[in-house]
């Protein structure tokens, strides 16, 4: 198909430069994102970390619970396949670090999905409904906001006992609040646009307007926030585990490993070095991806 100028010579045709492929806003954003080197490198590194977290514990000669009295606190080295050394129980740190990565990444992703689903629906409904409904819904969010996360989790743990699913629920239940505020604010902006009025004018139902007009147009900032929420949730899980409220032995996570390593900082610094490095690198990667997405989705903001 040729992409020549429009029928009317006096109008310049923006599409002429784009070749034959329609350029949706998403497609243009994807192209800008691919040009961002830091973000692309971060994706590769993250993929490597995620892949090794899945594969390494399956094939490594040591299991996460294999304690050995002969190999207590072995420093990092090639001897006996203890590349990252061992802990005070003689367990291999490398396999525990990658296994901890599984737990940390899973918690980061799942809690974010929970926060995303609740937050987007709640915020979009509140913003679109407006008026008194909006007022009540957002005051409810304000009330929940005022509860400190730690307080909330201590209550949950005392009532239901220690459980990894409780960690999902607790983090997800708190982190959707900010998401709903972001989505509500965006919805208010989008709602005032003329295309929403034109949808009302053609007689589209409210739910169709929400689905076709509001939600696709608020997703940009939401996606950016998601990439920042995943690392936040990983950190939250880490400090919960650090405080002994999160993941429990024999399972492990980066936060738990760091907490255990912190106690032996003088005698066995590698115990904190490796999990902390992985955690930090993961944080950086997510943040670079978030920055890249922000620039790609809204080029005017730079």
């Amino acid at each position: 198909m040729s992409a020549g100028p429009g029928l009317l010579g006096s109008e310049t045709l923006a599409a002429a430069a784009g070749g034959g492929v329609p350029r949706s806003l998403w497609r243009q954003a994807a192209r800008r994102f691919r040009r961002n080197r830091a973000a692309m490198a971060s994706i590769v590194i993250l993929a490597l970390i995620a892949l090794s977290s899945i594969l390494v514990p399956m094939f490594w000669p040591h299991g996460i619970e294999d304690a050995s009295w002969e190999n207590i606190l072995v420093p990092p080295g090639a001897a006996g396949w203890h590349w990252f050394g061992t802990d005070a129980n003689g367990r291999d740190l490398l396999v525990r670090t990658f296994y901890g990565g599984r737990i940390s990444l899973t918690i980061g992703l799942l809690t974010t999905v929970v926060a995303l689903l609740i937050g987007v629906t709640y915020g979009a409904v509140a913003g679109f409904a407006g008026g008194r409904t909006d007022g009540f819904m957002m005051r409810f969010v304000d009330v929940l906001y005022s509860l400190p996360l730690i307080f909330f989790i201590i209550i949950l743990v005392t009532v239901f006992g220690r459980n990894i699913f409780l960690v999902f629920i607790a983090i997800g239940a708190v982190e959707w609040l900010t998401m709903s505020r972001i989505v509500r604010g965006q919805t208010l902006t989008v709602k005032a646009k003329e295309y929403v009025e034109s949808a009302v004018a053609i007689g589209l139902s409210r739910s169709a307007i929400l689905r076709r007009y509001i939600i696709p147009n608020v997703l940009g900032p939401v996606i950016v926030y998601v990439t920042l929420l995943i690392p936040t949730n990983i950190i939250v899980e880490s400090y919960l585990s650090f405080l002994g409220l999160g993941v429990q032995e024999p399972l492990t996570s980066w936060g738990l490993l760091i907490s255990q390593g912190a106690g032996q900082l003088d005698s066995a610094p590698w115990l904190i070095f490796f999990p902390a490095t992985f955690l930090a690198v993961t944080m950086f990667c997510f943040n670079f991806i978030g920055d890249g997405l922000r620039d790609a989705l809204d080029p005017r903001d730079r």
Partner: protein, 330 residues
């Protein structure tokens, strides 16, 4: 010609949220106050006025995009203001709107084909996909866009092309009335002419009635059969195009028309130029009596106490002015 849409004593009010926690009663902004007119089949009624005079609110009130505070909008024997949302939805097939900003009135996440086909999906669900596609093709061709552009997105088009897409979306269900809310104000002059001609051609072919809202008198003169002048939410003068532009009777209309630039400045008649003093009063606190009196060169005491009614000075030509006798052409 019979009237397709009759608007009687329409008022559109906005509640301005009360500032502060303790002010109980919100202020009311009377954007449109007691405006009546009728729109006939195949006709264009131009609505003119300054920014903030309530032109757009009038258009939105007619289409019930803003629920009017008072008055009636009679459409096929029924009052739109009293219809339930479901009944109103059925009427929307015949009552459409085109907005000022062409790009922001198109959903950036939908393709042109989806945008133009959407009214058909809502109002003519019985049509198959092929038939819908065929009609979209024909409509795009009619407004001067190539049907291959269907799979493209609004951001790939210029302002004039976006306005053509809006027109295609408004026209696809063959409506009886289209409210054109400043449809060409944000376009280049040459493109304004193209869009105006397109609207006129479509009106000639389909007999659609247009409510053409604009602040540009030259365009209104070109487009309209009849004209309605608004000031601070009230109708000041209404009349057929020739009678109105030939002999405007309201001091405000006279000032507006004299402010239109003349192509050749040497031809301009300085004795006819009439420049208004002062600012537009706040619509939250309009003047008593005639709302125009604070800027009117002819104001007399009665203008402060009494609001003038719209009185016919010629067939179909009404003026709301106490001094209408003194404004007749010499």
């Amino acid at each position: 010609m019979s009237s397709v849409l009759t608007v009687e004593h329409l008022s559109v009010h906005y509640e301005v949220p009360a500032g502060g926690l303790f002010r109980r009663h919100p202020l009311t902004l009377k954007a449109v106050n007691d405006v009546s007119f009728e729109l006939r089949a195949g006709e264009t009624l131009g609505i003119v006025g300054e920014t903030g005079c309530g032109k757009s609110s009038l258009g939105k009130g007619v289409l019930q995009l803003v629920r009017p505070a008072a008055g009636r909008v009679l459409w096929e024997g029924r009052d739109l203001c009293t219809l339930s949302p479901a009944e109103l939805k059925a009427c929307r097939k015949d009552l459409q709107i085109i907005f000022q900003d062409p790009l922001s009135s198109l959903n950036p996440r939908m393709t042109i084909g989806e945008i133009v086909a959407e009214p058909l999906e809502v109002h003519r669900p019985e049509l198959g996909r092929d038939e819908r596609r065929r009609r979209v093709d024909a409509m795009l061709d009619r407004v001067g866009l190539r049907p291959e552009m269907q799979s493209r997105y609004p951001n790939e088009f210029s302002g004039g092309q976006c306005q053509r897409i809006s027109i295609a979306r408004a026209m696809i269900c063959e409506p009886k009335v289209i409210v054109c809310d400043e449809p060409v104000s944000s376009l280049d002059v040459s493109i304004q002419a193209q869009i105006c001609n397109l609207l006129r051609d479509l009106q000639r072919d389909t007999g659609v009635a247009l409510l053409f809202i604009s602040h540009d008198l030259s365009i209104v003169r070109y487009m309209s059969h009849r004209v309605l002048v608004m000031y601070l939410g009230r109708a000041m003068e209404t009349g057929p195009r020739l009678s109105f532009f030939g002999a405007p009777r309201h001091p405000y209309s006279q000032a507006l028309i004299s402010a239109v630039p003349v192509p050749d400045p040497d031809q301009a008649d300085p004795s006819r130029s009439l420049v208004l003093d002062g600012e537009l009063p706040s619509p939250m606190d309009p003047p008593s009596g005639c709302v125009f009196r604070t800027r009117c060169p002819l104001a007399v005491p009665v203008c402060i106490t009494q609001e003038p009614a719209l009185v016919d000075v010629a067939p179909g030509h009404g003026v709301a002015c106490h001094r209408r006798q003194d404004t007749a052409p010499a």
